[in-house]
Amino acid sequence: MAVNSADRIRARVLLQRSDFTLNADLHLPGTGFSVLFGHSGSGKTTLLRCIAGLEKAAAEIALGDEVWQSDTVFIPVHQRPLAYVFQEASLFDHLSAQGNLDFAVKRARQPVSQSEKSAIIELLGIGHTLQRYPANLSGGERQRVAIARALLSKPRLLLMDEPLAALDEQRKQEILPYLESLRSEFSLPVIYVTHSVNEVARLADHLIAMENGNVMAQGSLEETLADPDFPLQLGEEAGVVLDTYVTALDPQWHLAQFEVGNGFGIWIRDSGHRKGDMARLRILARDVSLAVSPQSETSIQNALPCTVEAITSDNHDALALVKVRVGDAPLLSRMTRRSVASLQLEPGKVMWAQVKSAGLV
């Protein structure tokens, strides 16, 4: 797709309603998935609708140099080079899947070649659905056709409003890989709304946390999630997500080593990777413990030297979250406040992080 990766997205939105105020100021990168994350009622969908122009608000919205909305400008929705995937299947019932795709192609911002069309149909695996009407498609198929339709309109910005929320767990797992390939194969910037930590971990490059209509934190996924002051209570799901790759394999024990923090590595079970494969690793705070020296007489094999950066109290009075850094990679560790006291943890102290397990996302 012809997308200028230098496009930066800026959105400043102020919307007053009788029971709700949305006040957001976003600076988003011009490529990759920016995820608006928050509980329901936090204003993330409203913010997305304001960016699209579907909701009237006092706003300044610009994509690169192109101003979509300001005090004096309001480009109507149909003239903004965007596409929008709605939460529920939003296909036109009077058109077949093919007809829905053609609707977008006819009105696309740039001509769509036959090969681009085939590539998108293949990317989303919807070749078999084209002759059918939406009423005869499964929920997952409908949403995949809707995503293909959005891509075929050749947007310069793709907005996705909880595209998986209306689907059951199995359908979600069916679509997530398609979204991941969308992320890796297109440089198209995407703003993706979700309340699922799992979707954040799998898809986000950039994270915006929202609460009560306000932006509480925004930044790269790695650093935002690793911030122990991250404003949303994630409970058991607190942890970091690292983009990494396979550095070594141990076929005898079916283990693979993933690079962490530029020069260090952790071993986890091998899921059929090859050396050099890219992967995303999610390490939960509850699976990381800290020790003064590397322990050998323990079942935990992954011990990495680290420096303590910050200590904050957790959601329970007994618990604390400790942020440490291994090389250049942040990790979070959850422990009791008594442990913090007895280990005399403080910023700058050098420790060993023991990683019990890590998940591939």
């Binding site: 579907l54 929705v77 149909h78 596409a83 019932d93 009077h94 009423a135 959005a150």
Partner: protein
């Protein structure tokens, strides 16, 4: 079955009137229905009530006021006279105008219901795919709300065919001008020609039944089959 020349002329006049009125109503009612189904204005209540008035008023009341309004001293009459058209009562044009007003709620309401049921989402989707408002109306709203438009057209047509009181008030009984089937039947009964009244009345019953049967049949098929129909 025997139909006299004046019977045939009444049938022809009625079909011509109903067709013309239906076409005008679809054009007039659609923007009203669109506005009523989308607007948050507090005037929607007032407009809905005005549109629905012909549903509850006796046709003679409606006909009486139309007669006054279209008469030489009424506002509509003054207007048509200033255009050099004379006055409308006891003309075919007058009958068309009166029928449009009389049948308006039967066309506005099915369209409005269909558009309300459709909601804002299809229009939003179309806009995000680059379709402007007119493009979106003809390629998304209209096909999706087609059952509503069809119901509206059928009700508008049959209701116009069946009107009597308003015609009598403002149209009178002029052959080839305002003598529609219902008036012709009335004449036959007045003249004690029960045989001819039977023939025309029987035709009306059969016509109404077949049209409604076709309408409900199509609706049923649409519900079961999914996808598009017609």
């Amino acid at each position: 079955m025997h139909l006299s020349d004046s019977d045939l002329s009444a049938i022809w006049l009625t079909l011509k009137l109903a067709t013309l009125v239906t076409l005008i109503l679809l054009v007039v009612a659609t923007p009203i229905a669109l506005w009523l189904s989308r607007s948050q204005s507090r005037f929607t209540g007032v407009v809905s009530a005005v549109v629905a008035l012909p549903l509850v008023l006796p046709p003679s009341v409606l006909g009486f006021y139309l007669l006054i309004a279209m008469g030489p001293n009424g506002p509509l009459g003054q207007f048509t006279q200033s255009l050099g058209l004379g006055t409308l009562p006891f003309t075919f044009t007058g009958l068309v105008v009166a029928s449009v007003i009389y049948s308006l709620p039967f066309v506005v309401q099915p369209i409005q219901n269909a558009l309300t049921a459709l909601g804002k989402r299809p229009g939003e989707v179309a806009a995000t795919l680059g379709a402007g408002p007119i493009d979106s109306f003809f390629h998304v709203t209209l096909p999706l709300a087609k059952p509503g438009f069809l119901t509206a057209a059928v009700l508008g047509f049959t209701h116009t065919v069946g009107e009597f009181g308003v015609v009598l008030m403002i149209g009178g009984n002029i052959p080839d001008q305002t003598r529609v089937i219902s008036v012709q039947i009335y004449d036959h009964v007045e003249a004690l020609n029960y045989g001819q009244a039977h023939t025309l009345s029987g035709l009306m019953v059969a016509f109404a039944f077949i049209v409604l049967l076709a309408l409900y049949g199509l609706r049923r098929r649409n519900k079961q089959g999914g996808g598009s129909w017609l």
